[in-house]
């Protein structure tokens, strides 16, 4: 797969994944300092999905993200300073400090607001796709969702509607094997998710390896069909959350999963893999730029003011 991807593309993909990883590591580092004012659900380990999916998107396309949405937010081009300021609860945050980590949004970059209620974003994304279909300009929506979200009835309802109306939407299930601490084996009667989705007439593909280039290729091919009115598509991307469900730490001592599981996924870490294939100096240059960008974003967040009291009652209703 790697051979067919240009050097420039490989650099871009490496950069995108590494940037997410480094941002989240920084969030984890800062977290105990109580500057970050809301619960954080880190994607460390899952970056390949967000990047593989978002890399072939156009700027005017839309992504709908979850409370575990840092990766997709950044991959789609969401503002890093606004992100960091939002985590800090600042007036300059993406939601003016009212949303926090679980409610990231960046409409200018096509990122719909994240919801903290699992599955809730799925029909909303479908509704956005309905509007884009009427618009007729070939724009599409990507809807991220977790493996747990597929258990919510609204997932099935949304699939049926999207297929019925042939909406331009790609559903991406980030299957990290767990909902909080419960493995899929204790929540799913079977793992035939793709087979189930395809009974709606939605092409469904399982990507079991976490390979960023394979994900990207599958996404790109789905988009091409969708832009021509091909209707919805579905990708199940197996992946792995390296940290605890919520918060900055690891939790392999909790007993619900083993470090061996982590190690298997770390062995195919896409950042390491793509990084290793780059020229060392190129990689260092990229890494240094990322570090500088993150430092600037943190400084921006730190220096921004908190929203004033009068903001409490603003924006309840749109005028």
């Amino acid at each position: 797969m790697m051979a067919s991807v240009s050097l420039e593309e490989r650099q871009r993909i490496y950069r995108a994944m590494q940037r997410i990883r480094r941002v989240e590591e920084e969030v984890a580092r800062l977290y105990p300092g109580d500057h970050i004012k809301s619960p954080v659900h880190l994607s460390i380990g899952q970056e390949a999905v967000a990047v593989g999916i978002c890399d072939p998107l156009r700027a005017e396309d839309i992504v709908s993200i979850t409370y575990r949405g840092h990766a997709a937010y950044l991959a789609k081009g969401g503002s890093l300073p606004a992100f960091m300021a939002e985590l800090y609860g600042k007036d300059t945050g993406s939601a003016g400090g009212k949303g926090g980590s679980m409610h990231l949004i960046d409409i200018a970059h096509g990122i719909l607001g994240a919801s903290a209620v699992v599955g809730t974003n799925i029909p909303v994304a479908a509704g956005y796709a309905l509007a884009l279909k009427r618009e007729g300009g070939g724009r599409i929506v990507v809807c991220f969702l977790g493996d747990g979200a597929t258990e919510e009835g609204v997932f099935s309802e949304s699939l049926n509607f999207a297929a019925l109306k042939r909406l331009p939407i790609l559903f991406v299930c980030e299957n990290n094997g767990y909902a909080i601490h419960a493995p899929t084996s204790r929540r799913w009667a079977s793992d035939e998710l793709c087979a189930r989705v395809s009974t709606y007439g939605i092409p469904a593909t399982l990507l079991a390896e976490g390979d960023v280039l394979a994900i990207r290729a599958a996404a790109a091919s789905a988009y091409a069909t969708m832009r021509q009115g091909g209707g919805p598509a579905f990708l199940e991307c197996r992946t792995y959350r390296w940290r605890e469900h919520v918060g900055p730490n690891e939790d392999y001592d909790a007993g619900y999963r083993s470090r061996a599981e982590l190690e298997a996924w770390q062995a195919r870490d896409q950042i390491a893999r793509l990084g290793a294939a780059l020229d060392g100096r190129d990689r260092d240059r990229i890494d240094a730029a990322i570090a500088a960008e993150i430092a600037a974003a943190v400084a921006f967040a730190e220096q921004s003011p908190f929203p004033g009291r009068e903001q409490l009652t603003s924006d309840v209703f749109a005028e």
């Binding site: 945050g93 993406s94 939601a95 003016g96 400090g97 009212k98 949303g99 409610h103 949004i105 409409i107 719909l112 607001g113 919801s115 209620v117 809730t120 799925i122 029909p123 909303v124 994304a125 479908a126 509704g127 956005y128 796709a129 309905l130 509007a131 884009l132 009427r134 009835g153 609204v154 309802e157 949304s158 049926n160 509607f161 019925l164 603003s314 924006d315 309840v316 209703f317 749109a318 005028e319």
Partner: protein, 351 residues
């Protein structure tokens, strides 16, 4: 309604709803109608009749039985700049939509720092009639009044129905629009040209100095009959229609209450922690010395059999009785039921 004369056109409530939507769809291509059965030959008891033929299946479409997802779809479309009207033939079915309405629609504008709007109208009907029973007759507007970020409108007549539905469609926020099945055939003078009834303005429908009756949705009509019954025994009742519950025009209600000193709030729902509780509590917080009383559904699920259903709802007789009790606490009085029925026929049509 304000300036009726004999040349004015009268329209039924259901026709007024239909006209409001058709005119708004004509004016604004972003407006569209979705919901179970909006496009069949029954057309939600006629309220969506003709829209499909006129505006086509892209702007008027039935949906699968998936209220939860369809509400999310409407919200997403609204965020994208369209202006959906999501129709439910029973308000009871909104209980399947609560997560999207309360956790998303109501909060999105605020929670996302003002970056999105949700110009969504949710039309639904209180289904009272012929043994509809516990799950097909509920008025649930009180639930939505509890949640910041939602507007709630419940017009009682064709004139307000048209104007407040147009206002709701033009509003940039989610609006829960409450209809009542028994209001559908009622008539009022309704101008043909589009007009807006501002949300948050109550209407004084009858004036009087002895007691104030506040009637919500179809209960407004019951209050008007009750006022007639009270007039017959020399009590002058003022009757107020809040029209919109969020925003709520307490000033008009308060002004009346100050004058009469007595208020009966009659809701088309349960009293406990409902619209009646809110109005009563606001009055009690700002005034002292008022005599206040709420009426509403009996504190039970709605029974189907008519022998019980009749006692489940407030009616002109029970409203008049409650008003009388506020005025003359010692003396019990209740209008003769047969006479109350007669009065209803005389007092009401045409509205």
């Amino acid at each position: 309604m304000s300036s009726q004369n004999s040349h004015e056109r009268t329209l039924t409530y259901v026709a007024a709803l239909r006209e409001a939507v058709a005119q708004e769809m004509e004016r604004d291509p972003r407006v569209f109608v979705m919901g179970l059965d909006v496009d069949d030959h029954k057309a939600i008891q006629g309220s969506t009749r003709g829209l499909l033929e006129r505006f086509g299946p892209e702007r008027v479409f039935g949906t699968p039985l998936s209220e939860d997802a369809m509400t999310g779809v409407a919200i997403g479309a609204a965020m994208a700049g369209l202006r959906p009207i999501h129709v439910h033939i029973r308000m009871d079915f909104l209980l399947l939509c609560m997560n999207q309405l309360v956790n998303v629609a109501a909060k999105a504008h605020y929670m996302y720092g003002g970056h999105v709007k949700v110009p969504l109208v949710v039309r639904s009907m209180i289904g009272r009639s012929w043994g509809q029973g516990a799950q097909h007759s509920q008025g649930l507007h009180g639930l939505f009044m509890h949640i910041p970020g939602l507007k709630v409108v419940a017009p009682s007549n064709a004139y307000d129905a048209k104007g407040s539905l147009i206002a709701a469609i033009r509003d940039d926020n989610p609006v829960i629009f409450v209809e009542h099945r028994q209001l559908y055939p009622t008539e009022a003078a309704v101008p043909e040209a589009p007009y807006v009834i501002e949300l948050g303005q109550a209407r004084r429908c009858r004036s009087g100095d002895d007691v104030t009756l506040v009637g919500i949705s179809q209960m407004l009509r019951e209050c008007l009959v009750a006022a007639e019954l009270l007039r017959e025994i020399g009590i002058a009742a003022e009757v107020i229609d809040p029209v919109s519950l969020v925003p709520l025009d307490m000033a008009t209600i308060r002004t009346s209450a100050r004058r009469t000193g007595r208020v009966v709030v009659v809701d088309n729902s349960w009293t406990s922690a409902g619209a009646g509780a809110e109005i009563t509590a606001q009055l009690a917080e700002s005034e002292t010395g008022l005599r206040l009383k709420r009426l509403g559904y009996a504190p039970t699920p709605c029974p189907t059999t008519p022998s019980l259903e009749a006692a489940f709802y407030p009616d002109p007789a029970s409203i008049a009785e409650a008003a009388h009790a506020l005025l003359r606490p010692g003396k019990a009085w209740r209008p003769d039921p047969r006479h109350a029925k007669l009065a209803a026929r005389q007092a009401l049509p045409p509205f």
